[in-house]
C-alpha cells in the first residue's frame, strides 16, 4: 500500500513540477528567464553528480570538466561541421559519457580522497588542455557560434517558432533546458529504482558487501561515471546556448566543478527536487550577494556565508527539509 502511495505522491509531485516549469515564464522578465535557463544547465549536471555521489558514493571534483567536454562537442560540431546546435545536444551527452567512462577508470582502484584528487586533476588540466589544442578548440579565444554559425544557432536571430507558436529566445532556452532537465530527472528516477540503482546503492553502502553479493563493483562505478558524464555533457552543451552561443576555457575553470559539488550538497544528495534547489542556489545566490554590496570581495563573503549557514542549519541540504515536510503526507495515508 505505502509503495502505491509513494509512487502516486511521486507522480503528483512530478505533475506539479511540470506545471510550475510551464507557467513560470509568464512572471519572468526576459533577463530572468535567461538566468533560469542557466540554472537549468546546472540542474542537469547536478542530477548527474547526484547519481554518482548521492547514489554510488563516488566523489567527483571533475564534473565541470565533463561539462566542458559536452560544451566543446556542441561548439565544434556546430561551428565546423554544419550541425544545427540542437541536434548536437545528445551527441555532446554521448561524448561526455565516453569521457566519464575514462574518468571512472581510476575509480576502479581509488576511493575517497584519492579519487577526489584524480577527478580534480582532470578539472585542473581541462582548461590547459583546451588552450593547448587550439587548432580544434580555438585556444583561449574560445568558440563563438554567434559569429561562426549564426544561422545554425537556434534563436540567435530572434524569436523561435515552435509548434505554430512564437516564443522569445530566452523563454525558448528556458523551456529547452528545464524541459530536458525534467525528462532527465524522470530517467534518473526510473534508473535508481531499478536493478542498476540497487547495485549503485550497494556499492555506496559497502563495497565489500556488494562485491561479495556478486555485484561487479568496478563495472558499476564506471557505469555511474559514464551516466553521470552524459548528464554533465548535456548540461555543458546547453550551457553554450544559454551563454550567447559562446564557450572558452575560462567558462569551465575548476571553480565550476567545486560549484557543482556545492550545489549538489546544498540541494541535498539523494533528493531530486533538492537538486533543482541546489541549481537555483548556485545560480542566484552569487548574484543576489552582488546586489547586497558590490565592494571588491563582498559578494564572495555573502555567498560563502550563505553556504556555511545552509549547511549548519540544514546539514542534509535543502532537499532534506522538503522530505521532512512531505513525509507526513506520504506516510499517514
Amino acid at each position: 500500500m505505502s509503495r502505491v502511495v509513494r509512487i502516486a505522491a511521486g507522480l503528483v509531485a512530478a505533475a506539479a513540477a511540470v506545471a510550475l516549469v510551464l507557467v513560470l515564464p509568464h512572471w519572468l522578465s526576459d533577463a530572468r528567464a535567461a538566468e533560469f535557463a542557466r540554472a537549468g544547465c546546472f540542474f542537469i549536471a547536478i542530477l548527474g553528480l547526484n547519481l554518482l555521489t548521492g547514489y554510488t558514493g563516488q566523489i567527483s571534483l571533475g564534473h565541470g570538466a565533463l561539462m566542458a567536454v559536452g560544451a566543446y562537442t556542441t561548439a565544434i560540431l556546430t561551428a565546423n561541421h554544419g550541425f544545427r546546435d540542437l541536434w548536437t545536444i545528445p551527441l555532446a551527452g554521448l561524448v561526455a559519457m565516453g569521457a566519464g567512462f575514462l574518468l571512472g577508470l581510476p575509480a576502479r582502484r581509488l576511493s575517497g580522497l584519492y579519487l577526489a584528487l584524480a577527478t580534480f586533476a582532470f578539472a585542473v588540466a581541462m582548461p590547459a588542455l583546451l588552450k593547448r589544442f587550439s587548432g580544434l578548440t580555438g585556444g583561449s579565444q574560445g568558440i563563438n557560434l554567434f559569429d561562426k554559425a549564426l544561422t545554425r544557432s537556434t534563436g540567435a536571430l530572434g524569436p523561435v517558432h515552435v509548434l505554430g507558436r512564437t516564443v522569445a529566445t530566452n523563454d525558448f532556452l528556458y523551456y529547452l533546458t528545464w524541459g530536458t532537465g525534467l525528462v532527465l530527472a524522470a530517467a534518473a528516477w526510473v534508473l535508481v529504482r531499478g536493478r542498476v540503482g540497487r547495485a549503485f546503492r550497494a556499492v555506496r553502502d559497502s563495497e565489500v558487501a556488494a562485491a561479495s553479493s556478486g555485484i561487479n563493483t568496478g563495472f558499476y562505478k564506471m557505469l555511474a561515471f559514464g551516466i553521470s558524464g552524459f548528464y554533465a555533457g548535456v548540461g555543458g552543451s546547453l550551457f553554450v546556448l544559454v551563454s550567447n552561443w559562446f564557450v572558452s576555457p575560462t567558462t569551465f575553470a575548476f571553480d565550476k566543478s567545486l560549484l557543482l559539488v556545492v550545489g549538489a550538497v546544498v540541494g541535498g544528495l539523494g533528493s531530486l527536487a533538492g537538486m533543482a534547489l541546489g541549481a537555483l542556489f548556485i545560480q542566484f545566490v552569487p548574484s543576489w550577494a552582488g546586489n547586497v554590496s558590490n565592494a571588491p570581495g563582498a559578494p564572495s563573503v555573502f555567498f560563502g556565508a550563505a553556504i556555511v549557514l545552509v549547511m549548519i542549519l540544514l546539514p542534509s541540504g535543502l532537499g532534506g527539509v522538503l522530505r521532512k515536510l512531505t513525509e507526513p503526507l506520504t506516510t499517514r495515508l
Partner: protein
C-alpha cells in the same frame, strides 16, 4: 627534449625545488592534521594562510620588521583557527564528511572575499625573511632564502612532531583522532582537541604563507591557491593519513615541478600543474593509498 644539464645547475634547481616543496610540505601537514582529526580536506586551508599573510603584511606596514610580525601572526592564527572551528565547524561536527567539506568551501569564499574587501585588490609585496645574497657551498651558489625556507619549514614540522610525540596534550589529540568514543570515556574533551587541531593547522598555514609570499615579489589575495593544490597533491601522494608522507610527497613534488619547468621545455606553465597531477595519478594507480599511507582493511 631534455636540455643539457650541468651538475651545479641541477643542484641549484633541486635546492630551489626543495624550498618551494618545503612550503607545500608545511601546508600539507596542516591538511593532514585536520584530515586525521575530522576526516575532511580543509578547502579553506590555503585561504586562511593567505589571510594570515595579509595580517603580517599590515603589521610590516606599521613599523614591525619581518620576524616580529611573523611571530605575532603565527600566534594570532593559532587563536583564529580555534575560534573559527568553534563558530563554523563545531555545529556540523556530527554531520556527514561531505557536509563539513562544503562548509570549508564556504569558508574559502568568505575568507577570500573578506581579504579583497579589507585589503583592496592591489598587489602587495612583503619584506624578505632572509638575506638575498647567495652563499657558495662546494663552488655552487645557493640562495640563502631557499635554504632558510627549507630550514623554517622543517623546523615547524619537527616542532609539531615533538608536540605530538612527547607531550600529554599531543597524545590526547592523537587519541581523540584515532578513537573518539574511547577517548571520551577516558576524559579527553574530543571536541576541544579538534579545535586545537584547527588552531595548529592554521598556525602552520601562516608559516607556509609567510614563507611563500616574500620570494614571489608581489602577491595578491589568490596567491595561495596553486600552493594549496600542490600541498593537497603532495599530501595525497604521500598518503593523506601520514604526516611524514605529506612532507616527503610535497618535497618530492617541489623538486619534480622545478626540474620539469627548467629542463623539459614543452611543458609550458599552462601544463605544469596538469603534468604534475598526471604523474601523481600514475603513482596512485600503482599505490592506491599513497607512498606512506596504510591500505585500509575493511570489515563488513
Amino acid at each position: 627534449m631534455v636540455g643539457a644539464a650541468d651538475w651545479a645547475g641541477v643542484a641549484q634547481q633541486v635546492v630551489a625545488g626543495l624550498s618551494s616543496g618545503g612550503t607545500y610540505a608545511t601546508l600539507a601537514v596542516a591538511l593532514v592534521l585536520i584530515y586525521r582529526a575530522t576526516g575532511v580536506v580543509n578547502f579553506a586551508q590555503g585561504e586562511l594562510a593567505m589571510f594570515s599573510t595579509f595580517v603580517a603584511w599590515t603589521l610590516t606596514q606599521h613599523g614591525f620588521s619581518y620576524w616580529p610580525a611573523f611571530a605575532l601572526t603565527v600566534a594570532a592564527s593559532f587563536g583564529g583557527g580555534i575560534a573559527l572551528e568553534r563558530v563554523v565547524i563545531r555545529p556540523v561536527e556530527r554531520a556527514s564528511v561531505l557536509t563539513v567539506a562544503i562548509v570549508t568551501i564556504g569558508v574559502f569564499f568568505v575568507v577570500n572575499g573578506a581579504a579583497f574587501w579589507i585589503w583592496s585588490p592591489q598587489v602587495k609585496s612583503m619584506p624578505n625573511a632572509f638575506s638575498t645574497r647567495p652563499i657558495r657551498i662546494a663552488g655552487v651558489a645557493f640562495s640563502i632564502s631557499d635554504l632558510g625556507i627549507i630550514g623554517v619549514s622543517l623546523l615547524a614540522v619537527l616542532l609539531l612532531w615533538f608536540f605530538f610525540r612527547f607531550t600529554k596534550l599531543g597524545l590526547a589529540m592523537r587519541a581523540a583522532a584515532l578513537n573518539p568514543e574511547s577517548s571520551r570515556l577516558t576524559g579527553i574533551r574530543v571536541s576541544w582537541m579538534i579545535a586545537l587541531g584547527w588552531g595548529l593547522a592554521t598556525a602552520l598555514g601562516a608559516v607556509a604563507g609567510l614563507m611563500a609570499a616574500p620570494p614571489l615579489g608581489s602577491f595578491d589575495q589568490n596567491f595561495m591557491q596553486p600552493i594549496l593544490l600542490y600541498a593537497f597533491a603532495g599530501a595525497v601522494l604521500g598518503g593523506i593519513d601520514s604526516a611524514l608522507g605529506a612532507v616527503v610527497g610535497s618535497l618530492a613534488l617541489g623538486v619534480f615541478l622545478n626540474l620539469l619547468g627548467t629542463y623539459v621545455s614543452w611543458v609550458g606553465t599552462d601544463l605544469r600543474q596538469a603534468a604534475a597531477l598526471a604523474v601523481i595519478l600514475g603513482v596512485l594507480l600503482v599505490r592506491p593509498a599513497g607512498l606512506f599511507g596504510q591500505a585500509l582493511v575493511r570489515r563488513v
